[in-house]
Amino acid sequence: MQLIFEKSKKGRRAFFVPALDVPIKAKLPAKYCRTHDTSLAEVSELDLVRHFTNLSRLNFSVDSNFYPLGSCTMKYNPKFTEQIAGLEGFRELHPLFAQCNATLPYAQGALEVLFCTEQALCEITGMAAFTTQPLAGAHGELTGAMIIAAYHRHKGNKPKYVIIPDSSHGTNPASAAIAGYEVVVIPTNKDGYMDVEAYRSKLGPDAAAVMLTCPDTVGIFNPHIREIADLAHKAGALMYYDGANLNAVLGKARPGDLGFDIVHLNLHKTFATPHGGGGPGAGPVGVVARLSEFLPVPRVIKKTDNTFALEYTFPHSIGPVAPFYGNFAVILKALAYIMHLGKEGLTEVSEIAVLNANYCLARLKDFYQVAFSKNRCMHECVLSAAEQAKNGVRALDIAKYLIDKGFHPPTIYFPLIVKEALMIEPTETESKQTLDAFVAVMIEIAKMARTHPELAVNAPLHSPVKRLDETKAARELNVKWKSSLEKDA
């Protein structure tokens, strides 16, 4: 499709600014003014609408396609929560309203939302206190790493590194590193568990924390998790829980009960808030009681008169990690979702997420290698296309063929430790009919890989574009549109 800039015509307008209703009292000195114009697109409202309407139609999305993108939990996002987030009293509320008078209870409804969310998340995870500030999962990890650092600083420890299994999500090592830690990587054994011997050998005074996903990114719940935690604690390290996979164990297990000290959640995944194109997320962080003094300020407290207030006086707090209280509208939608599902509904989420993933695994295990020894998984299953790759049909080709069939591909090539990984996370909101249709195509591809590998290699044929040249993109780095004028220059 043409770019909006290519549709631009000098002088076209979509939106009209209201007329000036006050006298002109001053002029801004020229030295402060821009001399180059903005060269923003100039289009009519219809141009704009037709452009983005048709652009949107080039995407797959949960609302239009099955989207089993492993680790990303692309479940159905309810519509009623949008309505709630759109309530004027929330949508138009300035975040500083709650800070304009230190003693007065402004913005009570919004503060109550934050407080209730923290309470609910504490109960769901078994943590003692939560902050809603972090703006995504990785941001939660960084917040967690900062808390780890603050804790050790407070204790007078000077640990050097964070222990992370090699199956971990890339954000874990990145977050630890950014917070100033080295990263020590532990290999995964054939069962999909972190190697305990290697792990033990790295514990010691230099270990600040252990960062784990549980169930981990291979879709397996490590039954030795309590031992791992005990060992860490004995060595003086903290246990960090990457909550991206909490959707597998809601109502079954809680990180707090398993021995974790710090938890981040991905509200936009587990609690079903839209994050089209990659965000916004929300990554609240919870901690056990002994770490609560390190949480970011301000914190939302409930006073004895049942009003809510912002509290700043936590001298050991790591400080703010976001300008306000987190991605409020996302948090609000997650709270509405939690309240809608309730105890039973949340438990069902995990039960059916796990059922669906196991169903896919069971139906596909005769056609694809199963990444780890078990024939069972939690909320997602990791297969390998290593067999198919021998005939030239790689995980990437399988992904592209699925696109032609109207299915968003699973996550591919992650976790990095699995060759030709296909990581399938169906989520609980998908029906058996949808899974059956998906499985049928996956089996078709497996067979095709033996008989007509070229068919997969040429896919997709029916998408708006065929396979794209990523190398060219990186080499030529065309990352913004230039008018023909600029190009010539």
Binding site: A14, V17, P18, I24, K25, L28, Y32, T38, L40, E42, V43, L48, S56, R57, N59, F60, N65, N77, E88, R91, H94, L96, C100, N101, A107, Q108, V113, E123, L142, R153, H169, G170, A174, A176, V183, H275, G276, G278, P280, A322, Y325, F328, A329, M339, H340, K343, V349, E351, L355, I403, H408, T429, L468, D469, E470, E476, L477, V479, K480, W481
Partner: protein, 445 residues
């Protein structure tokens, strides 16, 4: 009420296919001692009940208040077309476009967003969004440190105080030296900054308009910074760029900012949008997703995520940043907003903000005991000195239906009697006049 489609019969069939006697059996790795100790979540409530509950909650607090609070986050009008289009579910319920062939809508939109941010700031290249203006500034500082190999960062106190606090919080475990330069008469102090710009300086961080709404031209500081090999970082307010000198025109190396004003509701603090645009040479150190144009097998133009080797999912602990989920939907809104306004619209809007706030100044200036600070030009926000404590005045003004601005005492010691007043296009002449009248009543009684 859990959006689960399965019937009992289907669950049975699926368990059979799996060869499991029950769902419970699928959880057997979570042995009894590992099971949860408590799960006191109330029973699920229906949509109707929750709609009612949250409506009530949303009305708890102040409603119908005329707002003059800004302080970096502004109540601008959002064209209806932005809500209508951003809600298209093919945008709304997709994820990061890892598979470009089924995500061209998103990828092209991000490419257009990047182009628009460059058009706005004048910079060479933009990423596809960061969390917010504060984290964007922090990422910029980290970039400068990596680029220069130095670790002294000069921070002008005209930079949003929360952003500064965030910066220090994030880096507490690192070895970075921050030097804050106090603002003099609302503007950044050249003398002090010049003095600090030496061969240890990694970066100087500036904001325009600064926290007091004051407009500046930092070309001189940027020049000095470059002379000593430091990186100039500027946080900007996008609406103001409709008329203000761009970071590029000042020579700034890394421009960042909060994109909330570009079509995002205030929503009590988020989701917002961090943007970042940099010199071409720095693109490989820039955090966040970047979309690039390329061609498909048939030579047709298409778009992909590019330079992924900078990112955590590939580079892991060596990545330029840990960011994964970003603020894509917010960036999409910003793009739509910028296209809706267009070149002329944004300019007119910026002027309208400027004229309205100047009008407000003249109205407030006539109030006995109230002094509008006029030492430097401002954009759409300005400082007012009151005869009493600003928080007290705020309290009394709320009762009259006005959120009269941000009391500066919380951010700047000694400014307890100062108020920061923002005036956007949403404030009508009548509201401004009524505001002045109410303030007069409050301060003179």
């Amino acid at each position: 009420m859990s959006f689960i489609p399965h019937t009992t019969q289907e669950i049975k069939e699926m368990l059979e296919a799996i060869g499991a006697p029950s769902i419970e059996e699928l959880f057997k790795d979570i042995a009894p001692p590992l099971r949860l100790k408590s799960f006191h979540i109330p029973e699920g409530k229906s949509e109707l009940e929750l709609d009612r509950y949250f409506k009530t909650l949303s009305q708890k607090g102040e409603s119908g208040i005329v707002n003059f609070i800004g302080a970096g986050f502004y109540e601008h009008y959002i064209p209806a077309v932005v809500d209508a289009l951003a809600g298209r579910s093919e945008f709304y319920t997709a994820y990061t476009p890892y598979q470009p062939e089924c995500a061209q809508g998103w990828l092209q939109a991000m490419y257009e967003y990047q182009t628009s941010i460059c058009a706005l700031t004048g910079m060479d290249v933009s990423n596809a969004s960061l969390y917010d203006g504060g984290t964007a500034l922090y990422e910029a500082a980290m970039m400068a440190i990596r680029l220069t190999g130095r670790n002294k960062v000069i921070v002008d106190c005209g930079v949003n105080y929360t952003y500064r606090t965030m910066l220090y919080a994030y880096t507490k475990n690192l070895k970075i030296e921050f030097v804050e330069i106090p603002v003099v008469h609302g503007s950044s102090c050249r003398k002090d900054i010049y003095a600090l710009l030496d061969d240890r300086a990694a970066a100087v961080i500036l904001q325009n308009p600064n926290f007091f709404g004051v407009v500046d031209d930092y070309s001189d500081i940027v020049h000095k910074a470059h002379a000593c090999g430091a990186v100039a970082i500027g946080s900007v307010y996008p609406i103001s760029l409709g008329i203000l000198k761009t970071p590029a025109e000042m020579g700034i190396d890394i421009a960042t900012g909060e994109g909330q004003s570009l079509g995002l509701p205030l929503s009590f603090g988020g989701p917002y949008l961090g943007f970042m645009a940099v010199r071409k040479e720095y693109i490989r150190q820039m955090p966040g997703r970047i979309v690039g144009a390329t061609v498909d097998k048939d030579g047709k133009t298409g778009y992909v995520l590019t330079l992924q080797a900078r990112e955590q999912h590939i580079r892991r602990e060596k990545a330029t940043s840990n960011i994964c989920s970003n603020e894509a939907l917010c960036a999409l809104r910003a793009l739509m907003y910028l296209c809706a306004l267009g070149k002329e619209g944004l300019r007119e809007l910026a002027l309208l903000n400027f004229y309205k706030s100047e009008f407000a100044k003249t109205c407030l200036d006539t109030i006995p005991g109230v002094v509008v600070k006029r030492s430097s030009p401002t954009f759409n926000e300005f400082t007012v000195m009151l005869p009493h404590d600003a928080e007290k005045v705020f309290e009394r003004m709320v009762k009259k239906g006005f959120a009269c601005g941000f009391p500066l005492g919380r951010a700047y010691k000694g400014m307890e009697n100062y108020l920061l007043v923002a005036v956007t296009e949403k404030r009508t002449k009548d509201e401004i006049v009524a505001f002045a009248k109410a303030l007069e009543e409050v301060v003179c009684s």
